[in-house]
Amino acid sequence: MEAETKLASPWHDVMEQVKTWARINSPWAIHYNSGSCNGCDIEILATLTPRYDMERFGVKLQGSPRHADVLICTGPVTRQSRERLLRTYEQMPDPKFVIAVGSCALSGGVFQGCYNIIGSISEVIPVNMFIPGCPPRPEAIIYGVVQLLEGLKK
């Protein structure tokens, strides 16, 4: 958190807690596929469907990076989509978080060594939460998101 000017009164702590509470309970997400085999993408979309339904935790898939707090990205960043991934990340307003889903996003996965990929997402943008698995189950993705939100509490 950027260092805010310290307000003397306890009012500041209350405001801080309310802000954190709001951020935990309504993490809007945007999903970016930087070259994934879309196995992870259909699992991310499956988390929004009736059986798993991430809307219970307030997660809503947004269209524009301007509206999103959490960037869920998949795939071993291909050279072509590297710049677009950066642009998406920069367009998102603070405070923003990045979740890398799938072993490709973590380490280039099975495509390690192919000539057109850069490897993992963390080589392009800072990542807050890694969710391994090829593809991770929807429960694992939800667990990852909840863990990220828990982390916010501190």
Partner: protein
């Protein structure tokens, strides 16, 4: 709309992201007045260099690499590759393994068609149908997970056979699941053919006659909706399809509505096939030995993926690693057919034709560069659609 420095330069906005079904692409039309004179597509956002990767991995490692080309038809890629390698090493696979491979291929077809039905409905703004289809798709995902242990990449294939067996309990679970899905598919057929707003978006859109479909080389349900009876399971039966004959499902009118209907009818056909396979499952062991070094040879293996014909060309040079593996995915056929189908059409028709041709197009980038002789402009897909609407008003 800012004009471009040179026509070749194109700006790719970060559009709404979908589970991009193959490479997210990007279209470019050259227009003379209102008639499209040329069109081209630019892929490459998901190009990872897999074919080069296969040349530096052994035959067995390649199985896991090629399976991850596409998350929705992963079994079909592995099956085509395994059949090709078995042809190279001329190994014959026990019939029970072939039957299990066919069973998993058909279950994956259900999973892919239901997914496409949901995404197409979501693209047309019909979210309830999207939620319903994806909820029912969970049934087939559970069955696949029960059978193979994983929801998406099942890794059922091993060079020379299968590493998964179907016991009686799983067979009953699959039969019950298929019965439930058959009920739901009847409901979807009713929804797709009667819901007014949905018909408004799909009837008469992107009409393609049989000759055009053949001329443009469309494959899979998109071609069959125009009456092109091209289905590798019938033309060149592979795995266990000779034992379980398939009836080709074709439509006649060739518009987007017909493609919905053809895919839903194919689901009925798949349910029948699965029940047939489960009833007449041959016995025997599951794998056959395959040498580590495949003798020098060339092989072609063609398989019917949910989206159309998947073409594998394998070449070995006697070593542990393949000399060359060429993968031609079905989507590239549908894309190249759109490119040529677009010439001569009016620009105003293009948005509906593109989304009509293969709904997974619509998850491509939203940018269309219109190169007019007077100077080129960059339009978003939506502006093209807007242009189409004003043009017709």
């Amino acid at each position: 709309m800012e004009s471009l420095a040179n026509q070749k330069k194109f700006i790719v906005p970060i559009g709404p992201q979908h589970p991009a079904l193959k490479e997210p692409g990007h279209f470019e039309f050259t227009v003379d007045g209102e008639i499209i004179t040329g069109a081209s597509v630019r892929l490459g956002y998901v190009h990872r260099g897999i074919e080069k990767g296969t040349e530096s991995r052994t035959w067995i490692q390649n199985l896991y690499l090629l399976e991850r080309i596409c998350g929705i038809c992963s079994h079909v890629h592995a099956l085509a590759y395994a059949l090709g390698v078995e042809k190279l090493g001329n190994v014959d696979v026990p019939p029970r393994a072939q039957a299990i491979r066919t069973l998993v291929a058909e279950m994956e077809r259900i999973h892919s068609h239901l997914l496409w039905l949901g995404v197409a409905a979501h693209e047309g703004g019909f979210d309830t149908l999207f939620m319903y289809t994806w909820r029912d798709r969970e049934t087939v995902m559970d069955l696949l997970e029960g059978l193979t242990g994983n929801r998406v990449h099942y890794s059922v294939n091993v060079l020379g056979g299968v590493k998964v067996d179907v016991d009686e309990k799983q067979a009953d679970a699959i039969r019950r699941g298929v019965d439930f899905l058959e009920e739901r598919t009847k409901y979807y057929m009713k929804v797709v053919t009667t819901d007014e707003t949905f018909l408004g978006r799909t009837r008469g859109v992107g009409k393609m006659t049989t000759e055009q479909a053949d001329e443009l080389g469309t494959v899979g349900p998109t071609g069959r909706a125009s009456g092109l009876t091209r289905d590798i399971r019938v033309d060149a039966p592979y795995a266990a399809y000779p034992l379980y004959p398939v009836q080709v499902v074709t439509g006649t009118s060739g518009d987007l509505l017909e493609r919905f209907i053809v895919r839903i009818k194919e689901l009925y056909e798949t349910y029948r096939l699965i029940r047939l396979i489960l009833d007449k499952m041959p016995t025997g062991e599951l794998t056959a030995r395959i040498p580590r070094r495949i003798p020098e040879n060339e092989a072609i293996s063609r398989v019917e993926a949910p989206r159309g014909e998947l073409f594998y060309f394998l070449k070995s040079n006697g070593s542990e690693m393949p000399e060359r593996i060429k993968v031609r995915t079905p989507s590239i056929c549908n894309w190249s057919s759109v490119i040529n189908f677009a010439v001569g059409l009016k620009l105003a028709d293009m948005p509906m034709v593109l989304s009509g041709m293969d709904p997974c197009f619509s998850c491509n980038d939203r940018l269309v560069v219109v190169n007019r002789p007077t100077g080129s402009q960059v339009w978003t897909w939506e502006e093209l659609r807007q242009y189409g609407i004003n043009y017709y008003r």
